[in-house]
C-alpha cells in the first residue's frame, strides 16, 4: 500500500496551483494532502478559498459550489478538494 501522505500527480498539480495563487511560503510537496486547508493546517480563510476557486475555474474549467460559506466539506483537505474537482471534470 502506498503512503497516504504521498500525493498523486493530480493532487500535486492542485497543490502547486494553490501555492502559486496565494504565494504561500510552503512548497507544494510539503502540503499534507489530508491536513485541513481552512484554519489550522494550511491556514487558509474564505478570501483565499475564493481566490483558489477562481484559479480552479480558469485552470480546470469547473465552477466550485458550496451551499453556504460554512459548508467547507470540499475544502476540508487538498485530497477532498481534488476529489471534488475530478468528479466535476468527469461529470
Amino acid at each position: 500500500m502506498s503512503d497516504l501522505k504521498t500525493m498523486s500527480p493530480a493532487e500535486l498539480d492542485l497543490a502547486t496551483l494553490i501555492v502559486n495563487t496565494l504565494t504561500l511560503e510552503t512548497t507544494p510537496e510539503d502540503i499534507d494532502p489530508d491536513a485541513a486547508l481552512y484554519g489550522e493546517g494550511l491556514g487558509l480563510d474564505s478570501i483565499d478559498i475564493l481566490e483558489v476557486a477562481l484559479a480552479v475555474s480558469k485552470t480546470y474549467g469547473v465552477k466550485l459550489r458550496a451551499d453556504d460559506e460554512n459548508n467547507t466539506r470540499i475544502f476540508s483537505s487538498l485530497r477532498t478538494l481534488n476529489d471534488h474537482i475530478q468528479q466535476l471534470k468527469a461529470a
Binding site: E40, G43, I49, L50, L64
Partner: protein, 454 residues
C-alpha cells in the same frame, strides 16, 4: 424602571402577513412565518439582559434580533467567534445566552437555537396578530456592535433601535429602494458587522424586501441564490466578491441594484460591474461607530453624499460625523476632503488603520495581541506594499526564540480574526528599531526580504 420613549418604530415594513419575507433552505417564508418564529424564540429566551447572536443563517439572525427586541434584551454582534472573543464578551456581559444555527455548539457557553427546533411549519399554522405589537421605542438599546480597541478588548458600539432604523431609512431614500418594490436581496457579507446588519438584515426588514437566508461565497453560489428570486434582485457585496464575480464570468440573473462597501472600489471596477451585471452600483461609506454615513454612484462621481440627517465637520484632529439619529460626534478613521458639510472625497485611511478584504482593525490592536503571546519578546505587524493581484495580507516580524510559526499562529488564532494573521511571518533576532525606538517602514520592508533562518 427606566422610561423609554413613546415614539415607536416597527420591526418590519412589509405590507401584509402573506407577503414573502425570506428565502430559507430552498423554500419561501412568509411574514407570518417570520413573526411566529420571533414570538416562539421570545418565549424560549431565558430572562437576562444580553443575547450573543452567532447565527450564520440570516433568517435565524433576524428572528433573534426581533425576539431580543420583544424581550427588551440587547443583541450583541461579535466581531468574530474566536474563543478569546467569546470569553471576553462573557466576562463583560455575564449571563449572556448564545443564539446559534441548528446543530452549532460553542463549548462552555449557554446556547439556544434561534429557529424553532421543530421547524418553521410547526408554528405557521397558528393565527397570530400581524405586527401591531412589534414596534419598539426609538431609544431602546437594540444591539451592541464591537470594534477593535487599541487595548485588546473589543470596544462596544451601542445602537438604539431608532438609530438603526432611521439610518437604514436614510440610506433607503438615497438609494431609492422604494422604487424596487419587494425585491429579493442576496448578501455576501456577515450580518454581525455594521455593513451587513444595516444593508442586508435591516434594509430587508425596513423596506419590505425578501431576504435570502444564505450567505454565498463562490460566484456560482451567488448566481444560484439570486436565481431563487423570480423578480427584482439586489446584491449586497464587497470589492473582493465583486472582483471574483467579474473575473469568473459566471452569468448572473438580471440585477436591479448592487451595493458595495467595506473598502473603496476602483472606479474602473465599478464601471465594469455595471456594464457586465447591468445594474447601478452604489458604494456605501461608514464605520461601526456611526453606521452608514454616505453613498455614491461610483461610475458617475468621486463625491460621497451624506445620507439624510448626517453632517460632517473638520478640526485639527480630523473629520467628525454627527447626525440627527446619532449620539454625539465620531472621529472618522479616514482622511477626508470636505466639499460641504454633506459632500466629500475620501483620501484613504489613517496610518494605524488596516482594512483587509473589508475587515477593519488597527495595528495597535494587533500589536497588543502579538506582544501578549507567551514567549514573544517583541513583535510588530505592518502592511507590506500591496501586490498586483489578490488580497494583500499583513506581515509580522517577531522576536520569539522559543516559538515556531505553528505555535505562534495557533496562539494568535485564539485572539484575533484569522484574516489578520501574518503572512509572511518572520522570526528575527531583533526588530530594526531606530535610536528613538521607532520602527521605520523601510527597515521593516527590508527585513522581509532577508531569507528566513531555519
Amino acid at each position: 424602571m427606566t422610561m423609554l420613549s413613546t415614539t415607536r418604530l416597527p420591526l418590519i415594513r412589509h405590507g401584509s402577513p402573506d407577503d414573502l419575507f425570506a428565502w430559507h433552505d430552498g423554500r419561501p417564508v412568509t411574514v407570518r412565518g417570520y413573526l411566529a418564529a420571533v414570538r416562539d424564540l421570545a418565549r424560549r429566551l431565558p430572562d437576562g439582559g444580553f443575547v450573543l447572536n452567532l447565527c450564520g443563517d440570516r433568517l435565524g439572525f433576524v428572528v433573534g434580533l426581533g425576539a431580543a427586541l420583544l424581550r427588551r434584551q440587547v443583541s450583541l454582534l461579535p466581531p468574530n467567534d474566536t474563543p478569546a472573543t467569546l470569553r471576553q464578551l462573557e466576562e463583560s456581559y455575564p449571563g449572556l445566552v448564545c443564539l446559534t444555527d441548528a446543530g452549532a455548539g460553542y463549548p462552555g457557553m449557554a446556547c439556544i437555537e434561534a429557529l424553532p427546533p421543530g421547524g418553521l411549519d410547526r408554528l405557521s399554522a397558528a393565527a397570530l396578530p400581524f405586527g401591531d405589537d412589534l414596534a419598539f421605542p426609538t431609544d431602546q438599546v437594540a444591539a451592541i456592535a464591537f470594534t477593535s480597541g487599541s487595548t485588546g478588548r473589543p470596544m462596544p458600539q451601542v445602537k438604539s433601535w431608532g438609530t438603526l432604523v432611521r439610518s437604514v431609512h436614510g440610506a433607503g431614500t438615497a438609494l431609492d429602494i422604494a422604487g424596487l418594490g419587494s425585491a429579493g436581496l442576496v448578501g455576501t457579507v456577515p450580518h454581525q458587522h455594521m455593513y451587513g446588519l444595516e444593508s442586508v438584515a435591516l434594509l430587508a426588514l425596513q423596506h419590505g424586501l425578501v431576504l435570502h437566508a444564505g450567505r454565498p461565497l463562490f460566484p456560482a453560489d451567488i448566481a444560484a441564490c439570486l436565481g431563487n428570486f423570480p423578480g427584482r434582485r439586489i446584491l449586497v457585496t464587497t470589492p473582493v466578491h465583486l472582483q471574483a464575480l467579474l473575473a469568473d464570468g459566471t452569468p448572473l440573473p438580471p440585477l436591479d441594484l448592487i451595493l458595495c462597501a467595506t473598502a473603496p472600489l476602483a472606479p474602473q471596477l465599478a464601471i465594469d460591474a455595471e456594464a457586465k451585471l447591468g445594474a447601478p452600483l452604489h458604494e456605501i461609506y461608514g464605520c461601526s461607530e456611526t453606521g452608514q454615513v454616505a453613498v455614491r454612484r461610483t461610475s458617475a462621481t468621486a463625491d460621497w453624499l451624506c445620507i439624510d440627517g448626517i453632517r460632517l465637520r473638520q478640526d485639527e484632529q480630523g473629520t467628525w460625523a454627527s447626525g440627527d439619529f446619532l449620539d454625539g460626534e465620531t472621529l472618522l478613521a479616514d482622511v477626508i476632503e470636505l466639499k460641504s458639510d454633506t459632500r466629500f472625497i475620501l483620501h484613504g485611511r489613517s496610518a494605524d488603520q488596516v482594512n483587509i478584504a473589508g475587515k477593519r482593525s488597527s495595528l495597535a490592536f494587533l500589536n497588543h495581541h502579538l506582544n501578549s503571546v507567551d514567549g514573544v519578546k517583541d513583535g510588530v505587524f505592518f502592511m507590506p506594499n500591496e501586490g498586483e493581484r489578490g488580497t494583500t495580507r499583513l506581515a509580522a516580524l517577531v522576536v520569539a526564540p522559543g516559538l515556531n510559526a505553528e505555535t505562534l499562529l495557533a496562539s494568535l488564532r485564539e485572539r484575533i480574526d484569522p484574516i489578520f494573521l501574518p503572512r509572511p511571518l518572520r522570526f528575527v533576532d531583533d526588530l530594526p528599531r531606530n535610536p528613538t525606538g521607532k520602527l521605520p517602514r523601510e527597515a521593516l520592508l527590508r527585513m522581509l526580504d532577508i531569507p528566513q533562518r531555519d
